[in-house]
């Protein structure tokens, strides 16, 4: 029984009290403090898992599953939690400062960054994400997903513009459609097995008594999760929502929020569903993933707005994780383990790099006053650090060394080639080409000379990027690069605590 697991869920909530009761200044500081505590807690969990070599467990209220609900941290969830906590902390720091100290237009120096509501939502996200990574009960996970959605949707429309509101509405409605399908799957599971605890269910399902109903339940839950993760062809809400939101919000939305449903999709098929089922269903997800990579990549190439481009890139990059399914489920020893590690590393490095890119894009848009690519010529002069952060983040998307994206890509490629999955290997390579296209397109524009841009008819604005916030973006991008120094081998840490069981974790 590890108390850290409970703290991971409750500590972010405690940060809400000062935000709602005390003034915004005190509240924001407390919120940042709590986000830092959250990093410490998740790091502690990761450390314990790595040290002990086994999962951590906690039974809430003292009633063991299947009657009660339990929390459980294995290597995979610990890694995801730490990543999410870091991104949230950096985004929180970014959001602390507003554009006040960078343009002369704004009178009040150091005027507030995001409103207090933003920090409420950020803390709620932290709670929801930790819960999604820790909970072992399908219904608790449903609550976690809803918490996540309700924290994410208002983030999209904090500024109250019409476009943002309509994007948020579409996001909410589609996410609700997804969650109700998920819930439908949950009820079928309960009707079949009388429990919602993943460890118990894994045992029951392996006996193979579920028939078509179990398959239908898994399918419904997966579809719901895919809707929340905006996996192609269910990405309708993602581009407007992620591109319209304020930069700090876009960063967390793209970097971590969509990762939770993806994580659960993996959990569902790697921990809950028996291997033969995963082997059958894996290609379907991989197909969706491949379509996402290629299709959304091409659409990203055609975008004229920087933030839309990044949003479509997110829609494309989600696909890489899904390519992992058939490879990781192949029961092919080291090669499936390599795919598993590659997919996870991709998730982590994409989170860091995408957060960096959205923050950088926000700063670029803030400096230039718009984010139309055609008018961004020479922005490298006024926002060099932001452009560098964008470029370094893009390195990971393109899969160039040294970056997490490179390591992940090599692992997926190796696994795909070893298992003879040529089409997956091709998709990985084509995805890299497309990412190279849209990232370099931006970088090339940013490096141009501003004065030679006769088309726009005006030079660069008299503004400079906010160096402090740009450095935050740069730090995230460097984080994505650091992931690239992982050895090119399956990471044993990720296999800690699998297959799921409560054995030895309960008192």
């Amino acid at each position: 029984m590890s108390a850290l697991l409970v703290l991971a869920i409750t500590a972010p909530l405690l940060g809400l009290v000062p935000l709602l009761l005390l003034g915004p200044r005190t509240g924001e500081r407390a919120a940042l403090g709590m986000l830092a505590v959250n990093v410490a807690i998740t790091a502690g969990i990761a450390e314990r898992v790595a040290q002990g070599g086994r999962a951590l467990g906690y039974v809430v209220g003292g009633f063991a599953p299947p009657l009660g609900v339990g929390l459980r941290a294995d290597g995979f969830s610990a890694a995801m939690m730490l990543m999410a906590a870091l991104v949230l902390l950096f985004t929180g720091l970014f959001a602390m400062t507003g554009p006040g100290d960078m343009t002369r237009k704004v009178k009040a120096r150091g005027s507030a960054g995001m409103p207090a509501t933003f920090f409420i939502l950020l803390l709620s996200l932290a709670c929801a994400l930790n819960l999604a990574f820790l909970a072992q009960d399908l219904f608790t996970l449903y609550v976690a997903l809803e918490l996540l959605t309700f924290a994410a949707v208002p983030l999209v429309c904090l500024e109250g513009k019409a476009g943002q509101l309509s994007a948020a509405l579409t996001y909410l409605l589609f996410a609700l459609f997804g969650s109700v399908l998920y819930l439908l799957g949950v009820v079928l599971i309960y009707g079949l097995y009388g429990t919602l605890d993943i460890a118990h269910l894994a045992g029951l399902m392996a006996q193979g008594t579920g028939g078509a109903t179990a398959g239908a339940a898994l399918a419904l839950m997966s579809a719901g999760l895919m809707a929340k993760a905006a996996l192609f062809p269910l990405h309708l809400w993602l581009p407007p929502a992620h591109s319209g939101a304020p930069p700090a919000a876009s960063a967390v939305l793209s970097a971590v929020v969509i990762k939770a449903p993806l994580f659960l999709l993996v959990r569902l098929w790697s921990d809950l569903a028996p291997l033969p089922l995963t082997q059958v269903a894996g290609p379907v997800f991989a197909l969706c993933g491949a379509a996402a990579i290629v299709f959304c990549g091409v659409v990203a190439l055609a975008q004229e707005r920087l933030k839309l481009l990044i949003a479509y890139s997110t829609a494309a990059q989600i696909g890489y994780l899904c390519l992992m399914f058939p490879l990781a489920a192949s029961d092919d020893g080291p090669w499936s383990a390599l795919a598993w590690t590659g997919g996870t590393l991709h998730l982590v490095s994409h989170a860091l790099s995408k957060a960096a890119m959205f923050l950088a894009a926000g700063l670029i848009a803030e400096t230039m006053g718009h984010d139309r690519l055609s008018g961004l010529g020479g922005v490298g002069r006024v926002a060099p650090v932001s452009v560098a952060a964008f470029g370094l983040g893009g390195l990971s998307l393109m899969g160039l060394p040294p970056s997490g994206g490179f390591v992940a890509k090599v692992m997926l490629l190796t696994s795909a080639l070893q298992q003879g999955a040529w089409w997956i290997a091709t998709v990985v390579l084509v995805g890299g080409l497309l990412a190279g296209g849209y990232v370099l397109r931006v970088v090339v524009i940013a490096l141009q000379h501003p004065d030679s841009d006769a088309a726009s008819g005006r030079g660069l604005p008299d503004a400079r990027e906010c160096r402090w916030r740009a450095l935050i973006a740069l730090a995230l991008a460097f984080g994505a690069m650091l992931v690239g120094f992982m050895p090119l081998a399956p990471l044993p840490f990720l296999d800690i605590g699998r297959p799921v069981t409560w054995e030895g974790l309960l008192p």
Binding site: L67, F139, Y142, V143, E146, T149, F150, V153, P154, C157, G160, K161, A162, L165, S166, A168, L169, L172, L173, L176, F177, V180, L183, L184, V187, L188, Y190, G191, G194
Partner: protein
């Protein structure tokens, strides 16, 4: 047991109705209603599962019933949030429409 089965079929039909509403509704409000109908059907299936699990002196398995209560509240929250978004969106759009001929004042 047959009664429970009947409501189970009704739940399935409600899910169908909800899906139809979600697919065909032209506006957001219709989709919210469709979502609620769909949710009602899913909850009803929880109720059926609970009723089928009657035993140990209870008329129904209390666990799914408790889940439904939580679910209803969450669905309400979703409805409220969606409606608030929709209302604000309409207000902003109406303002923008009015702003089209009242630009000089602002």
């Amino acid at each position: 047991m047959t009664g429970a089965l009947l409501f189970g079929l009704a739940g399935a039909a409600l899910v169908g109705c909800g899906v139809y509403g979600l697919l065909t509704a032209p506006g957001a409000l219709g989709r919210v209603l469709g979502f609620n109908i769909l949710g009602g059907g899913v909850f009803l299936m929880f109720g059926v599962v609970a009723r089928r699990g009657a035993g140990a002196g209870f008329g129904a398995d209390p666990v799914p019933q408790a889940l439904v209560i939580t679910g209803i509240v969450v669905a309400f929250c979703a409805t409220a949030l969606a409606v608030a978004l929709l209302v604000r969106l309409c207000a902003v759009q109406a303002e923008a429409a009015r702003g089209g001929d009242g630009d000089k004042e602002t």
